[in-house]
């Protein structure tokens, strides 16, 4: 069992949890993820390792409540335990030799973008972070990003925090102003990554995206997480989750992510009902 040692609401839909998982903490690197089951009847869901503490033997996850399982996870509290927590899975993000990088995060994707931002910063790389949210109340990890970057640009859809506009607008502006990046790392909703990759392709800047297809085992056994990258079939859980953004077939990935929409809506409603019953 894997004990929850800290729980913190970052915004109304995004929560941080620190979990006791010494074996995972020992090996974790930015870019990798875990798979958890909250309880013995639950589904397996992948979440990125947002932070880790090798001495304490803990791993931090940050999740957005989007459906039945994340809602159920969020009903647990400090002192409760998760039944299963396996990792670190996937390949760590490559950071070797990078001197200047723009990290682009969107929404909860910022949680995934944060650990690599921190690592690059600690390695002495110049990091510009561009983070985007729908509105001010959804902003997360502002202080953390500020501390781990040389420049932080906050964007919001409605202009309630930072500048009004898209992360791609901010990235374009920085590139046009003469900033020369070795690499752009983009992590967020598929559409966002698609348009960041489209933009950087025009400028010929290498771009890494973190893909999050539907997974089950996370060990390369089921093939459910497959993607088309440069016309080849790749399994995100073992070959990724990072891929060359200029080669990924985003449209196909978006299609595949929606495969179980009807089921998921039903499961979410059922979880909400259960929740209401318990509250009563």
């Amino acid at each position: 069992m894997f004990k929850i040692v800290k729980k913190k609401e970052l915004n109304p839909t995004v929560t941080l949890m620190e979990i006791e998982a010494p074996l995972v903490a020992k090996k974790a690197e930015p870019g990798q993820f875990i798979i958890l089951r909250a309880d013995a009847a639950g589904e397996r869901i992948p979440l990125t390792i947002a932070d880790f503490d090798r001495d304490k033997g803990t791993v931090t996850i940050i999740y957005q409540i989007v459906g039945a399982t994340t809602k159920h996870l969020n009903s647990l509290n400090v002192g409760d335990s998760l039944t299963d927590f396996v990792g670190p899975l996937g390949q760590a993000t490559h950071t070797e030799g990078l001197k200047k990088v723009a990290v682009v995060g969107g929404g909860v994707g910022c949680a995934i973008a944060y650990p690599v931002t921190k690592k690059l910063h600690n390695l002495g790389c110049e990091v510009h972070a561009i983070v985007g949210f729908r509105s001010k109340d959804l902003l997360i990890l502002e202080d953390e990003f500020r501390a781990a970057s040389n420049k932080l640009v906050i964007m919001s859809d409605d202009g309630s925090v930072g500048e009004k506009g898209l992360v791609t607008d901010a990235l374009k502006k920085l590139i046009d102003s003469g900033e020369q990046y070795d690499e752009v790392i983009a992590i967020g909703p598929l559409v966002m990554m698609k348009f960041v990759a489209k933009l950087t392709k025009e400028y010929g800047i290498k771009t890494v995206v973190s893909m999050n297809p539907i997974m089950i085992d996370g060990t390369g056994m089921c093939g459910g997480c497959r993607l088309s990258v440069g016309g080849e079939m790749k399994f995100a859980c073992v070959d990724g989750p990072d891929f060359d953004g200029h080669l990924v077939d985003f449209d196909e990935a978006m299609e595949r992510a929606s495969m179980y929409k009807d089921f998921e809506k039903h499961a979410y409603d059922a979880e909400c009902n259960l929740f209401q019953k318990e509250v009563k």
Binding site: R37, V86, I216
Partner: protein, 465 residues
Amino acid sequence: MPNMSPKKNEMPTQAPDVRNKNFKEVALGYMPETAIDEAKRCLNCKHKPCVAGCPVKIHIPAFIEKMAQGDFEGAYEIIAQSSSLPAVCGRVCPQETQCEQKCVRGIKGEPVAIGRLERFAADYHNANCKTAPQKPESNGHKVAVIGSGPSGLTCAGDLAKAGYEVTVFEALHLAGGVLVYGIPEFRLPKAIVQKEIDTLKELGVTVETNVVIGKSTSIDELMESGFEAVFIGSGAGLPRFMGIPGENLKGVYSANEFLTRVNLMKAYKDEPSTPIMHASKVAVVGGGNVAMDAARCAKRLGAKDVYIVYRRSMEELPARAEEVEHAQEEGIIFKLLTNPTEILPDENRFVGGMKCVEMELGEPDASGRRRPVVKEGSEFVLDVDCVIMSIGTSPNPLIKSTTEGLAVHKWGGIIADEETGKTSREGVYAGGDAVTGAATVILAMGAGKDAAKAIDEYIQSKNKE
């Protein structure tokens, strides 16, 4: 006087149109009288040709003789000398190409139902034997086993019985390997596998789930931390796809994914937490046991039409004869000599159909099987809304890439000595599908057994020096 009936005693089963709607076991098992009657068909041949057909050399006539006398526990004890998973093997061994193929009764009629008798003895033992196995005295030596499929479980069990302190590391949240995530409940009830794992635990084996060797930790680290030997039983690996257009459409699964959702994640239950598509017309591409299982699961989930699409003919179908028969009875439609060329989308980018060509058998190829060739102008579209690819696997590179000096074949399988499972790394042994590619439960079990013996000898001799 032996029972000279030319036919096996029939196995009672759930009626086909009942069972294809539930996940309960299909074959119900012999009654004691039937078992005795069937056992009496054995001639107790001097040359025991049947034994040569069994990969782990169970003393078949000896155990059957006990059965004929009604001494089922005695029969079990004889089987247990050679096999650690008789309740499993009795159910899933391809008997018609192994023990039963060699049975002399098969020359002029049907062979003795060796598998069914083995299953009976094992089930009898499991139902009636209440004494927990004694935990052997520890010899202080530690061995690690990677993977909890039949090869790993067997290796762990044998070593534990010899006094070793064994830890099994399993990547998934549940132990059992393919026996729990692949082979469905209606063919191999999960309780049987669980019982085997409980027995191991009683023998003192530690089972650590949620540990991926090559990620969570490595073989070298295991050795450094005091494990004197390691057995790799990590299974067959990544699913293969055909490389035809449309394979990433919504509604295309690998058999591994489909079966994992159904079996391991219980997607067949009411209100499951893991989703699965409830398709109405399903094509399963392939002809092995895996394909039969996927097809029969799809049917049970409510599909109206389920096709097995296989490019050769009935004779070449690699699945167990019993599964093919059961699948046919359950209404699975066999589209033989048929090969898919493209999966077509519907307007929502789900599967809308599968383009196929008809094949005919040409000259035999290197494997001796006649090579299927495309029939000119035979293209047609099969009306389906779900496609399950079941065309094999290729080895998972995870352990190889994190274990320096571990030699593998060009195709990725671990190179291991056939008799001992010894690999190119000292103290590291391997067996089962990770070595052979997708094979059978009994072969994996046999490999685990051989490796346990070799590991014991290795550690003994090392500590004598």
